[in-house]
Symmetry: C4
Subunit: 281 residues, 4 copies
Amino acid sequence: MKNISKNVLTQVIKPRNPESYKGNYGKVLIIAGSTLFGGAAILCSSAAIASGAGLVTVATTPEKFTALNVKIPEAMTLDYHHKKELLNAIHNNSVIAIGPGLGTSSIAKGLVKTVLENTTAKQTVIFDASALTVIAEEKFILDTPSNIIMTPHQGEWQRLSNLDIPNQTVANNLQKLQELNSKSVLVLKKHFSEIYYQDQILKIAAGNPGMATGGMGDTLTGIIAGFVGQFGYSVQTISAALLIHSTIADKINQKEYVVLPTKVIDKLPKYMSKYSSRSSK
Amino acid sequence: MKNISKNVLTQVIKPRNPESYKGNYGKVLIIAGSTLFGGAAILCSSAAIASGAGLVTVATTPEKFTALNVKIPEAMTLDYHHKKELLNAIHNNSVIAIGPGLGTSSIAKGLVKTVLENTTAKQTVIFDASALTVIAEEKFILDTPSNIIMTPHQGEWQRLSNLDIPNQTVANNLQKLQELNSKSVLVLKKHFSEIYYQDQILKIAAGNPGMATGGMGDTLTGIIAGFVGQFGYSVQTISAALLIHSTIADKINQKEYVVLPTKVIDKLPKYMSKYSSRSSK
Amino acid sequence: MKNISKNVLTQVIKPRNPESYKGNYGKVLIIAGSTLFGGAAILCSSAAIASGAGLVTVATTPEKFTALNVKIPEAMTLDYHHKKELLNAIHNNSVIAIGPGLGTSSIAKGLVKTVLENTTAKQTVIFDASALTVIAEEKFILDTPSNIIMTPHQGEWQRLSNLDIPNQTVANNLQKLQELNSKSVLVLKKHFSEIYYQDQILKIAAGNPGMATGGMGDTLTGIIAGFVGQFGYSVQTISAALLIHSTIADKINQKEYVVLPTKVIDKLPKYMSKYSSRSSK
Amino acid sequence: MKNISKNVLTQVIKPRNPESYKGNYGKVLIIAGSTLFGGAAILCSSAAIASGAGLVTVATTPEKFTALNVKIPEAMTLDYHHKKELLNAIHNNSVIAIGPGLGTSSIAKGLVKTVLENTTAKQTVIFDASALTVIAEEKFILDTPSNIIMTPHQGEWQRLSNLDIPNQTVANNLQKLQELNSKSVLVLKKHFSEIYYQDQILKIAAGNPGMATGGMGDTLTGIIAGFVGQFGYSVQTISAALLIHSTIADKINQKEYVVLPTKVIDKLPKYMSKYSSRSSK
């Protein structure tokens, strides 16, 4: 297992082409939120936008439109109960993140199924949080031809892999991932999170316990979505997303006991600028 | 084609007369927003207010009143489904901006038509975003006697002009503009945006690819509305609006990878003060 | 006519008694807001709280509760359609401000009438904005035994006094005020606003044209309410409220072209601290 | 009576174990808010999250979900009218705070009763504000086996103890507390607040009259909940919560006349970091 190199940030976060447009920086669809979990969709979409995604649409329950409009006026919204509009959005976006605050209702199950059945080889799908629980509970087969990223914490990975935490060894994790979908990337969120992809295994040597607070995972998912939208699907892109998330959080944690997700999001444009100018040299 | 001169900012942004009132700085009506696109109305009206518009009313769907009240308590609201109140507002405002987040529903079409049929030679109408798509789709004739400003990006201009992007040459653009409405101003948003008005063609030598993010156009429309409300309808005023928008964004982009529209809006009062004090000397 | 002395700030804004409670700093009821004018209630109540009012309740239409909770969680709310609860609130608060964003509907008229009929000699009532228009239109007699403050701009004063603006001379204003209610205070908002009370006439030598923006008057009303709640009803208290409002706005205007009401509100606690420590010496 | 020592902050606020998770920092359920009192739930839950609570759920009326999502996207929500879901939440959380903005309706009474009847010896329950009034009015017996913290101000303590303020002597308070529940902690909020627990009596030598503003008590309750969730139930933990609340407020009050609760909340992560790094030495 190798550590993610700090250089990955300058390698991934390229300066933008002066002549470029919103469409060049990814169309991201975030399927998230439910009546009782409204904040997750806000944090995830805010992170996607602050990390530079060109266009972000949040498919959620319409009760959440007002809060989204207030917190992230840059995002568009969609009512995920409308199957036809949702299918259009699935077809028209390059990156789809599903799960934050989605819950495990029958509606949530239908949404995960719809994504699995309607995404293509040109798209990337990120399964996070409730979506992973739904996949585990419903024993859904991950047979979409799209690129897949899964971002479980250890408890969600246990549900998905049937490996209890002591048995979540590198070898076991690799084997289970092969069984689930041999082409997908697993981001296992824990103290020193790990990335698994085929025979590559990477570990992040950053992060801090001030990040142990609600919403931190939703934020990471939004950054991964934004990064894949801009920089393409690769282990390197995903590594950079994890590293900038933890690097910013470590900086905040030097002065703040708990690292609030909203503060990480606020600092994304500045940190990305810093690494992008280094890469231009 | 000439570049817009930096001097236009000090020429346009005049120090205010000490004895003056809200009514001296323009009454701006923004017809914007729909169920799925709530943020655009917020960004556009926030930009109008931060750029100094005396009184701003947002005609939108009432589901969006709460988000508007939170984000921009300085603005008044109106339900655009109420024809009589809308007509009153159209008659009572000096500048009308229509389009951000409006969508292309039958309601949106009716609103564009109502504006075309009910504005007078003393008023300025800015057609933006969805309003331009509606005009193209419905083949509406731009026969209002009001001053007209159109602010398409290249895709919207293609729909309006039937010129595909490679054919959007200066000569072709000029000719199409003459056909659409010979007295109107075209602001063609692109890398180095262009302003067309009769025989004048100006180009802005500012802007950056960090601006390639959702909501940036809505913000520009709000600034144009605020500037016309205060400084009068002229190519010079519109040039100044474009230039301050890009100048602020360029400053932000020196330190931030993506330029969030809300940050541009926040900085408007400071930048306007800077240029206005220079003009007073 | 005398200018308001700068000393009034240090004279009025006394350091607080260490052993004191919310109840010592005034109970303020703000009757404000309506479907289309939601921001005024937010600005007015935010200003009251930031200026130190002990307890602030906003009586408004319940559609506005969410926006108020977000922007000013320190305030309580009330549905002004419920007569009994409203009467309780009128009886239990020491300062009542009515008018910002209230509109001139039959409900608004009923609210003004209820306040006129149910306030007592121990209370102060501030009539602002729509409430003044309602009084003028309905020819309501100002026969409440409470202390009265009226805060019209010149147009509202014209409606109330039947004096057109050129005829709004000191002598005429004084006479009309005597006719309306001989014990009340008139704050005439204009370039260099004026305060009239019996034989006293004061003028404020502060303020700037950057304040010519929507919501600035609602903010002043909130400050007056907060100041009367804490420092008692007097011409001196009202003068201090006007002066701190303009002093802060002048400071902001040195660097910002338009002075947004929300920025004035944010700075109240710091400026009050500054003047209060001077007064303690 | 002893003063709370400044050292309590460094003793209580321990640096976090690098290998730790949200679940290690407390699961906090806040039962708060009602139609007319929406802000209290926001302030209380924001304070709990900013003070480091691992997971915070707010049980409230669903009208308040939008405001909560906007102001504190890190929190989850629950509709407290749903008995089954509420009982689940009561069972699944380690700390339960009930009362801020709850009101004294029959629903509020039912909620207090539900908490009293369904909490266990492993849990801590904080009764604040309206919950204390309900207990007094309904003469509820505090016979839950859970740890109890009561946080009345003097008026609420009068209702609960039948001691009018002049009779709220140390001896009387101690005796009444024994009668109510001999194992519970009383936090009596006043100028120099006092903590009573069995034979211990502590006094806080911090705080200022700028704190005499609405919402300051709701904020304290959130901090106590967050601290007990992380650092365990003890008089020392509660003392640290009170002290950091007043210490931050005193710092703000050096420059601000009134201390807004939201500003205290914003500064929690920085102040906790400061004391935690001292404790690590």
